[in-house]
Amino acid sequence: MSLTESASPTEVDGAPAARRQRTALLIISKYGTLIAMVILIVIFAIASPGGSFLQPLNLLAILSQSALTAIIACGVTLVLVAGEFDLSIGYTASLAGVLVTGLMSNQGVPIPLAILITVVAGSVIGLVNGLLVAKAGVNAVVATLGVGTAVVGVSFGYSSGQPIVSLPAAFTAIALGRSVLGVPNLIWLMVIVLVILWVLLNRTPLGFRIQATGANRHAAALAGVRTDRAKIAAFVIAGVCAAIAGILLSSQLGSGMVSSGDGYLLDALAAVFLGSATLRDGKFHILGTLIGVLIVNIGFNGLGLVGTPTFFQFVFKGGILVFAVALATIARRYARS
């Protein structure tokens, strides 16, 4: 009597060619970026000298190179799911690098405590962003741009603009080590952070409340969701992820520098939007963001191996973002009409 199959059994006479076309378009809109990734892998496998692209070491290198971007990008994915925006993540990562190294080398703080303080600092930056946006009602772009700029100032003030070097070996070993199965620690850490974020977003009440807030904040509030808290939580998580990535970056570089993490902002946002064109109809999600990060890094790595000039690698990066999102959007539109 209810929840029955609504499709009528006599619809078969509707042109099968049109249906096939619709199915093809739906596949392109959902799996287009994945297909593009597979095509890239195949091309580079063939074109790279001696098939060096597919060497296990090279594949691990791609994943390592993706790790930091993936951690930042998946954190900021939650902010975008909540319907907001965060421009401060790159600067937060930079500050985290300066802070964690400075605490150790200037203040002599033990490694675990330095990391803890830095992560807390990242969460505080996220909290300030969240309070400004959710409580004071400041536009997210304005609030996070302002906070991010202030964070740059804090980084300069704390480090006097000088790179902080001479770090404990145990600290640099975090990012450079290969503790388990010979796989770089960065990859393990990326997997752990991403799994936690995925579970948080897709399997906890908080995650559902963040989704509901982004999907329709009026409806969410009237259903009893504290939309302000959901947004604040998302900003805090993004701040924590940015701090983790900044710590790992300084561990990898063996130094803390004021602008070392700034570039992650655009890379992360590009990956998030690239990911929104993957698997789910234009929605931001963790797995999509990971795929977005991987495509960009596979492209960079492969183009490097093939011997393409650097300028072209950036053209590729921008091009694939616009192309993939546009293709998915157009395919979706035609599939629906």
Binding site: T204, A212, N216, H218, A220
Partner: protein, 516 residues
């Protein structure tokens, strides 16, 4: 009204649909639709939500061109591949969701899409203003063209949209549920304007769920059911009961819920002299357990504002609210929900549902905490959530492939059922419904009413805001009527009649301060 005999002689219809079919995905939305729209008439399209009226209008508007079949205008075959083509053919469409640009004034909104430019490529306002003034005169605008459309009432906004159609010299104006959000008096005014338009040669297609106005206003009526035309009425008056059975496909009996013998429980909610400093001035009412209490009155009388203030979506500044004998003043809806309140809001699509999320997501959202494994392990048991959603969706007979379907793919009636189903899980002590059957078809409406009654019988205190007096009569044990922010009267049991309600709604509260 046109003279039936002469217009029947006009051989060429303005629009003729022949075997128009349209399907979306697997679902056949329209099947071999054939009928004609005579020029200079008001043509009513009626049917349940999802019956195909809106789809047909979208075919005509060039939004979703038909898969097969033909459309003729003035006897000539036309192809309407896009909305621009529809506009060039003199067809104008006014949709349920208003298409005015907020922040723009009346003139700019009316001129939208009008390519009047000077030789230099700039917009030539002077002829447009002249034309707009003529249109304003014809429609009897009571506001200047420089007024921002946000500042107008819903009824006046409709006039602006009709004005836009006239600016574009439309021959046919299709209106999708124009009166759904209008009060009875505003609707009357709109009817008069439609009659004037038709008398001066325009043709109006009128989609409405208010069957009284359809039988009253329309010259011809076409009834849709399940994507087909089930009845075509040309130039004759139909009784409402016949119309209802054509829509539903069977005779609908009006359920008697036996309100004289209800077993009234304890007082649950008492609202005493509540005001919000704006729309709500002085509202008092009592809801007991097991009782359905209605709030009637005109649109704009402060009813929605009152319940939102009680629910914590806004604040009340004077008076008090007591729940189970204790004073409460919720600062956020989440506090109300935690205390045992639930709200089904008026604006289903804007405030009630997540259209891009699944039915299960929509239903479970207010009760996520009871889905987790444990407090320490806050992980959601999604399969349990789905079966739970499925169970309540069955209770309200949601028609959908599965609870994984997106809420946005459902018809209006089914969306409303989903919005209500959310509160069937662990039902709240107080359930508030704002316009529960607006934009809901006749059959689904009866089902929605059954669900509301069943909730009350299980002990909930139910508060229903409705502009539809027939709904209040059918549903409520007690009805309070609000006028200009004050409760002007209370009706109970057999006193609740459409006449009494209408009377109280237009009553001046000064003359009859504390009725009942």
């Amino acid at each position: 009204m046109t003279d039936t005999s002469t217009s029947a002689n006009q051989a060429v219809p303005l629009i003729r649909f022949t075997d128009v079919s349209k399907s979306f995905g697997g679902a056949q939305a329209l099947r071999d639709i054939s009928f004609e729209i005579r020029p200079g008439t008001v043509h009513g399209l009626v049917g349940a939500n999802g019956a195909g009226k809106s789809t047909l209008i979208r075919c005509l508007a060039g939004v979703n061109p038909p898969d097969s079949g033909s459309i003729e205008i003035d006897g000539e075959l036309v192809d309407i591949p896009n909305p621009q083509a529809a506009g060039e053919l003199g067809l104008a469409f006014i949709h349920q969701e208003m298409s005015l640009i907020p922040g723009w004034d009346v003139l700019r909104n009316m001129s939208l899409g009008m390519p009047l430019v000077t030789a230099g490529g700039l917009i030539d306002w002077r002829p447009m203003r002249t034309k707009a003034l003529a249109v304003a005169e014809r429609l009897g605008f009571s506001f200047p063209l420089s007024r921002q459309v946000d500042d107008l009432s819903t009824a006046d906004q409709w006039l602006v949209l009709i004005g836009r159609a006239l600016m574009a010299d439309a021959r046919l104006i299709a209106m999708d549920e124009p009166t759904a959000s209008l009060s009875a008096r505003e609707a009357e005014r709109l009817h008069a304007i439609i009659r004037d338009l038709v008398a001066s040669g325009a043709t109006v297609v009128f989609v409405s769920h208010r069957l009284d106005e359809v039988t009253d206003l329309c010259d011809d009526i076409t009834v849709f059911r399940d994507g087909t035309v089930t009845r075509r009425v040309v130039g004759e008056r139909l009784r409402k009961a016949e119309l209802v059975s054509a829509i539903v496909g069977k005779d609908l009996e009006i359920p008697d819920h036996g309100r004289d013998v209800i077993d009234r429980g304890d007082e649950v909610l008492r609202i005493s002299s509540v005001g919000d400093g704006r729309m709500v001035k002085d509202a008092s009412l009592v809801v007991n357990a097991g009782e359905v209490v209605g709030i009637g009155g005109l649109v704009g009388s402060g009813r929605s504002e009152l319940i939102k203030a009680v629910y914590g979506a806004s604040r009340f500044t004077t008076g008090s609210v007591s729940f189970d004998g204790k004073n409460v003043a919720f600062r956020h809806p989440s506090e109300a929900v935690a205390a045992g309140f639930g709200l089904v809001p008026e604006e289903r699509r804007a405030e009630g549902l997540f259209l891009d999320e699944s039915i299960a997501f929509n239903i479970n959202l207010a009760r996520l905490d009871s889905l987790v494994v444990s407090r320490l392990l806050p992980f959601l048991r999604l399969s349990r959530g789905r079966s739970r959603a499925q169970a309540v969706a069955n209770q309200v007979t949601v028609k959908a492939r599965s609870v994984s379907a997106l809420a946005g793919t459902l018809s209006g009636g089914n969306q409303q059922k989903v919005a209500i189903a959310r509160w069937l899980i662990d039902p709240p002590r107080v359930l508030i419904l704002d316009e529960p059957s607006r934009g809901v078809d006749v059959g689904a409406r009866a089902e929605v009413h059954d669900v509301i009654r069943a909730l009350a019988e299980r002990g909930a205190a139910v508060l229903v805001v409705s502009s539809d007096n027939e709904e209040l009569v059918a549903l409520c044990d007690t009805v309070y009527v609000m006028v200009e922010g004050r409760v002007s009267g209370r009706l109970a049991g057999p006193e609740i009649t459409v006449d009494h309600l209408t009377h109280l709604s237009f009553e001046n509260h000064h003359e009859r301060g504390d009725a009942a």
